[in-house]
Symmetry: C2
Subunit: 149 residues, 2 copies
């Protein structure tokens, strides 16, 4: 994957901030014609630099007000570690990071209520044969801030 030059960075920044911006406006903001802007966006998508577009949603409003981080450690360190695949089946698991340190993975999960968290923890332990350590999120001052390009 090649480097990203300035003009492309600018385009990426625009689209991260407003994923529905028109190519015409991207062009105006970058001094390109509509088609040139469009072509560059398409190339960014093909190169995998822009992975896609998503609506940013308020998960509380959708009935998932409780967020938690769950650190996960295999009970049998000798067993083959396929925890990410095993946990991918659980819809509540929004992210899975392999990490350095005491534990092997950090999961980010969203559920509707404390009881759902309890159920989810049981599922996680059973699915991946792991022990867990849970940190409940009380509030989120901010999240998903665009990177400074």
């Amino acid at each position: 994957m090649g480097r990203v030059e300035d003009l492309d960075r600018q385009i990426v920044r625009l689209l991260v901030r407003d994923g529905r911006m028109s190519y015409t406006d991207v062009g105006k903001a970058t001094g390109l014609s509509t088609s040139a802007a469009h072509q560059r966006v398409r190339r960014l998508e093909q190169r995998g630099i822009i992975r896609g577009y998503a609506a940013v949603v308020d998960s509380e409003a959708l009935g998932l007000p409780l967020t938690a981080f769950i650190s996960v450690k295999p009970i049998d360190p000798a067993a083959p570690d396929d925890a990410p695949e095993r946990l991918a089946g659980l819809d509540e698991v929004e992210a899975c990071h392999s990490v350095a340190g005491e534990e092997s993975y950090i999961l980010k999960v969203r559920v509707g209520a404390p009881g759902d968290l309890e159920t989810l923890l049981a599922k996680i332990r059973a699915a991946a044969n792991v022990s867990t350590r849970t940190t409940v999120v009380l509030s989120t001052p901010y999240e998903g801030r665009p990177p400074n390009l």
Copy 2:
């Protein structure tokens, strides 16, 4: 903020998966006319359920290959706690969650290289008068998976 009914859920799910889907296609997928779909989307935006739209970007390709979680604890528990605002000025900080447990906040940060992480940690400690505990992300099997609605 009112509850979200089934049709709206469906629309949200569609737009989370493809933030650039046309209202015509949203309509086709939900059995609504283009304008009805459009109106519902607009209402979802006004209610704050859809916060906006963003391009999903490969941060590695943008020169930020190193992700870490930093747990943060105020050194002076008696001081007024404005850490989130103080840390908001640091572009590397992508998210800030207030959490229950030993530490007060969990930050998610992205930097270009280990040396940048060192610099950032110093900035964080200085800006918010906190101690830190850092967990480096080795790889991310998945992240930002859409919630199952």
